[in-house]
């Protein structure tokens, strides 16, 4: 019964946090969109396409942030065998994969008008693509294992292995990119962020973080509910078997 104690407290905590994070998500994203689409100037170099950056850059940040959350939860799940950590790692994966997909799609949509091609093997886009494959591998593995406890442990190991490998993969891809430097590309995002870009970027990034919290809590809730549904179904099956015998 101790197993249920923490999730029960979590359910109460979640119902307190969720209304706040929902409101903050909506507020931040609406004001972020206002600044991203209306109240900011076009870039002197990129023109109106700079507005794609307000989605692309925060999404790319979130792709990495979600993987870090997944890895941290996986570490907690392996070390302390905390049932909430198990659920959190599993719930974070599809959200992170979603943000990664957005970063890829918007990167391509920005590349076509700016680079004149849908795909450039630039270090950043390539790293994000590999991150996307890491998410897909995690989700495929967790879904392939029927026993929920075994699935969580296998997923946790894979998430941690992926996490320690990300810096090496990133380094190798950056380095590969300098070997094959394409003729002339505008650095994407880059260090030179104009002040007018900062406000929409920050608002969108914060909005995405609260979106992550809201969806993560909802997904964790349903995972916990489903675990109890399974336990109850097993108990009922057991009872009817006993009654029959």
């Amino acid at each position: 019964m101790h197993r249920f104690a923490n999730p029960a407290r979590f359910q109460r905590l979640a119902s307190i946090i969720l209304p706040w994070s929902d409101v903050l998500t909506a507020g931040l994203l609406v004001s972020g969109l206002y600044f991203a689409l209306f109240a900011s100037p076009a870039d002197y170099q990129q023109g109106e396409t700079v507005r794609i950056m307000y989605i692309h850059v925060p999404a790319a940040w979130m792709a990495m942030f979600s993987y870090s959350v997944m890895a941290a939860a996986s570490a907690a799940s392996l070390i302390w065998k905390h049932p909430l950590a198990d659920v959190a790692a599993r719930a974070a994966a599809p959200i992170g994969a979603g943000f990664t997909a957005i970063a890829l799609i918007t990167g391509m949509l920005w590349g076509e008008p700016m680079w004149g091609t849908w795909w450039v093997w630039d270090a950043r886009l390539t790293s994000v693509l590999i991150l996307f494959f890491l998410y897909l591998g995690y989700m495929a593995l967790v879904n392939a294992i029927d026993n929920p406890a075994a699935a969580v442990r296998a997923g946790a190991i894979l998430a941690l292995v992926g996490f320690v490998n990300i810096p090496i993969i990133k380094f190798s891809v950056d380095w590969w990119n300098t070997l094959h430097q394409p003729a002339s590309v505008i650095k994407m995002g880059g260090p030179s962020i104009a002040p007018s870009m900062l406000l929409p970027l920050v608002l969108m990034a914060l909005g995405f973080h609260f979106y992550f919290v809201s969806v993560l809590l909802r997904r964790m809730r349903s995972e916990l509910d489903l675990a109890r549904v399974r336990a109850l179904e097993d108990a009922i099956a057991l009872n009817s078997e006993e009654a029959a015998a």
Binding site: L134, A144, I145, R153, L160, S172, W176
Partner: protein
């Protein structure tokens, strides 16, 4: 302890050779995959030499993945993994020994035939030497990183496709540094720095692969 480990490696090698030459299948796969490229791209010598390093390395990665499913599967199915866990030595050493045996049986043959295929892909002189050295230093890492995937997917149906999705993204650093070493030699540059980076990747793979595969298998045995 060393004697037990050597006995363990010998046992795995015997098993690999006995299963109808199962170990060599990956090597044949490597050769066939490489031969497909001149047929697909055309036999023009400069083109072949330009893509040779990449083609040979990618074929080696795929040959590694194809042979991974046998790493723990047989021992898991017949229950001898439980027996190995009871040996009076750390389980991680058992796992490392099995990875080493996998490299000896499945990937060392790939390294041995690679100069012939390199010649067919129009690599010459220093580039050919760099290719063999790079494969020799890089492929052990493929066995150890691959062991993570093999341990996580052990006992699953249709593990093959899942394995490639789990493992191939983690092979990217080895691919990049391995190809860079051959390319450097082909351009008349010193491949040594690339080979050292590649060997660093392999050492890292040995540590992380042994630890993660051991953890995954231990959970499976519980």
């Amino acid at each position: 302890m060393t004697r037990t480990l050597i006995a363990l490696i010998k046992r795995d090698l015997n098993l690999a050779w006995r299963q109808g030459g199962g170990a060599l299948l990956g090597t044949v796969f490597f050769a066939v995959a490489v031969v497909l490229f001149p047929l697909g791209v055309g036999p023009e010598p400069n083109t072949l030499a330009r893509i040779a390093a990449g083609v040979l390395w990618v074929a080696a990665l795929l040959a590694a993945v194809v042979s991974l499913d046998r790493l723990f599967e047989a021992d898991h199915d017949d229950g001898s993994l439980d027996g190995l866990a009871l040996l009076p030595l750390p389980f991680s050493l058992v796992v490392a020994a099995k990875c080493l045996a996998h490299w000896l049986a499945s990937l060392l043959p790939v390294v041995i035939i690679s100069p012939f295929l390199g010649l067919m892909m129009r690599l010459e002189g220093d580039a050919l030497v760099a290719l063999v050295l790079a494969l020799l230093l890089g492929t052990p890492g493929l066995s150890f990183i691959g062991a993570i995937g093999a341990a996580l997917a052990v006992g699953l149906r249709r593990a093959g496709a899942l394995l490639s999705l789990l493992v191939l993204p983690l092979y990217i650093p080895a691919l990049i540094f391995g190809v860079a070493a051959v390319e450097a030699a082909r351009m008349g540059l010193d491949p040594a720095p690339h080979l050292m980076l590649l060997f660093g990747v392999t050492l890292f793979a040995v540590v992380i692969g042994t630890a993660a595969a051991t953890a995954a298998l231990k959970f499976d045995l519980e």
